[in-house]
């Protein structure tokens, strides 16, 4: 009996401390595996602090399947998931179904990487809060660069030359399956990120500029695409035209490539205990287009957003603010190598101890190039699909780069017909 009273009292205490009814919040923040564990620890901490309960809804690993599921739920106005983890390029697509967080997050939003904040906005309104960042990186084999006495390439021309040289050398030694450079060339969003890096680093713009003008048909972009087309079949296996991140990593991880373009996740795996290339790998910013070009890794990462149909929007917003806070982002960076979006964390000693290269990343992130998702809004997926298909056509030599970009320019203008929104 006394125990019962005690538990009542405890319950009353929780109620009093949160000064509201405890509610259940559903969050989609992972597929399963390690990502799930880390998300779970975060939401549990929040649940304990506020007395609410949190349910994690696992969503598929593949981004396309995840987006389709979100759209289905949101289009039906279903409030089954309160907090959504969304990709940086989905804000415009889903924005109409998300809660405006501008006023709630105005105090903290200035701490985040500006480029990440930009991807969270729709028409100037903040529809999501940045959670973790990603950007394209160049992975290289330290041992092989030493062996051939080549520096880490600063321009794409350097990279091409070094890759050719090392590939020739390795093949002479009988390693017939050795390649210079692997990346993601499949006709999917990943090719958009890759191709944008080539073009932006060569000062060829970002497909659509921030004013909404289609800028893709320019000599710099054509030149960048020509360079990339030249790789296929020479320093890059022809199969790259159907590689996603893991297929590209497979070649590199097996020790069969000198360079690889990939996201930061590949680092931990390349350094894993069973890795054949452990301690032989280095990372660097992606090369510049030329002497006057710039380092440009495409910005990726995930945001947290609150559904407009959530029945507990206040609690859900609180959860989002908690999960994106400095302490939680630090915990996630230390335990799960999720790159923080809060700028000051890049100088944090604990994170630096867990991820030695975090200091290098801050430059990569601050120079990162964003896909034109904010300006094209609803139409981003169309723009991206036309873009990666045009690039794919050029790479598979079914169209000349200039011709492919010319057609792309026409198609994009057709999509833009009545403005982007």
């Amino acid at each position: 009996m006394s125990r019962l009273i005690a538990s009542f009292a405890a319950a009353a205490g929780i109620l009093a401390s949160t000064s509201a009814f405890a509610v259940e919040i559903s969050i989609s923040c992972s597929a399963l595996g390690k990502e799930y564990e880390i998300c779970k620890q975060g939401v549990d901490a929040w649940a304990q602090r506020t007395g609410n309960t949190v349910k994690i809804v696992s969503t598929p690993n593949s981004a396309t399947e995840r987006l389709a599921l979100y759209q289905q739920l949101l289009a039906a106005g279903a409030g089954d998931i309160d907090v959504f983890q969304i990709d940086v390029v989905w804000t415009g697509t889903l924005g109409n179904h998300l809660l405006d967080l501008t006023s709630k997050a105005q105090n903290i939003i200035g701490d985040h990487l500006p480029a990440m904040v930009e991807t969270s906005r729709v028409d100037g309104k903040l529809m999501a809060v940045p959670w973790f960042a990603d950007a394209g990186l160049l992975y290289y084999r330290k041992d092989l660069l030493d062996k051939y006495k080549r520096p880490v390439p600063q321009t794409w021309a350097d990279l091409t030359e070094t890759a050719r040289l090392v590939q020739e050398g390795e093949r002479k030694e009988g390693r017939n399956e050795f390649w210079g450079y692997t990346w993601q060339g499949r006709a999917y969003e990943g090719l958009t990120t890759n191709a944008l890096e080539w073009i932006a680093s060569n000062n060829g713009g970002t497909i659509v500029d921030e004013k909404g003008e289609v800028t893709i048909e320019n000599p710099k972009a054509i030149e960048a695409l020509k360079t990339a087309t030249g790789w296929v079949g020479t320093i890059t296996p022809e199969g790259v035209l159907n590689y996603t991140e893991e297929e590209a990593r497979g070649v590199f991880q097996a020790g069969n490539a000198l360079f690889m373009r990939n996201w930061p996740y590949a680092w931990a795996l390349a350094q894993g205990p069973d890795s054949t290339i452990k301690d032989k790998v280095g990372i660097a910013p992606l090369p510049k287009g030329g002497a006057d070009g710039r380092h440009a890794g495409t910005l990726g990462g995930q945001l947290l957003a609150v559904s407009k149909y959530s029945k507990n929007a206040a609690a859900a917003t609180d959860l989002v603010l908690y999960l994106t806070s400095e302490s939680e982002q630090k915990r996630r960076a230390v335990q799960g190598s999720f790159n923080p979006t809060i700028v000051t964390l890049y100088g944090d000693a604990d994170i630096a101890k867990a991820n030695p290269f975090i200091g290098d990343l801050v430059d990569v992130f601050s120079n990162a190039v964003a896909r034109p998702a904010t300006v094209t809004g609803q139409n981003y997926n169309k723009v991206s699909t036309e873009f990666f298909n045009a690039v794919h056509q050029a790479l598979s030599k079914r169209a000349e780069p200039a011709q492919a970009l010319n057609r792309l320019d026409r198609d994009l203008k057709r999509i833009k017909r009545n403005g982007w929104q």
Partner: protein, 274 residues
């Protein structure tokens, strides 16, 4: 001649078996491997490392997922066959006006791409209050299996000789009794085959299963496998996915081994006719 024919026959059997089995065999080998090993080729298992199999069950309620799949597929097959056999009797054995039109209408249901039907079905399931429940999935899957079941069974029904039922009708049996006593036993091979195929269709169904369920405990096997992930969203946990795939194939193999006798057992239409 016979020796040569026999060698040829067995050669053909082996070639077909290898073609059918090799990917499955490779899946089994892959399920014992992990990490970087998956990026190289192996023809024989190097070790029997079962950690991927444990991981499948540790990270999610995979036992429940399999059970859900069995329940959903089992119910779908039972309902499809029950509805299909009666409808097939009517379509195949009784002449009535509008028969062809009805058959075409039923077939038309199978002519829309699944993704187009998805949104409407989602609204329907929610309207019925069946979201995130197994009955919702069963209902949705019926749309995939029922037209097929009705059509196949009708075809087989029509193939049976006319005399079969006439004797029964002369004896004053009702159509229902004729279906149960006369046709059901005769249709066994066709019904088992159709049921087996319907079971697999439902077992493999992914899009509905993903969209109409929310919690891991309610999910069926295909979305459960799609949820498996490595430490980040990009990493593909190949070994675990293969282990999951191997596990879910076993119930199907068991089912085939149990029911395959029935595919042949029931039928001696000639005997009835004679």
């Amino acid at each position: 001649m016979t020796i040569l024919a026999r060698i040829g026959f067995w050669l053909l059997v082996i070639v077909i078996a290898v073609f059918a089995l090799f990917p499955f065999y490779y899946a089994i080998i892959s399920s014992f491997r992990s990490g970087s090993a998956l990026f190289s080729v192996a023809y024989l298992p190097e070790s029997f490392d079962l950690s991927n199999y444990f991981a499948v069950f540790e990270r999610q309620p995979f036992g429940w997922n399999i059970l859900n799949s069995i329940i959903v597929s089992g119910c779908v097959v039972a309902i499809s066959l029950a509805l299909g056999i009666t409808a097939a009797y009517a379509f195949g054995r009784i002449a009535f006006r509008g028969r062809s039109l009805l058959l075409m209408t039923i077939l038309a249901v199978s002519m829309f791409p699944q993704v187009a039907v998805l949104s409407g079905m989602f609204e329907l399931i929610r309207a019925f209050g069946l979201y995130n429940t197994l009955p919702g999935l069963i209902l949705a899957n019926l749309m995939l299996t029922l037209p097929f079941t009705v059509w196949v069974l009708t075809t087989f029904m029509r193939e049976l000789p006319k005399e079969i039922e006439e004797a029964a009708f002369v004896d004053g049996a009702t159509p229902w009794i004729v279906v149960r006593r006369v046709f059901l036993p005769l249709m066994a091979p066709a019904a088992v085959t159709t049921g087996l195929l319907a079971f697999i269709v439902s077992w493999n169904e992914f899009l509905f299963a993903l969209t109409f369920t929310l919690t891991n405990e309610r999910r069926t096997v295909p979305p459960a496998i799609a949820l498996m992930s490595g430490s980040t969203a990009y990493e593909l946990p190949w070994g675990t996915i293969m282990a999951g795939s191997v596990i879910v194939t076993i119930p199907i193999i068991a089912l085939v081994l149990v029911f395959q006798r029935k595919i042949v057992a029931g039928l001696t239409a000639g005997a009835v006719k004679g």
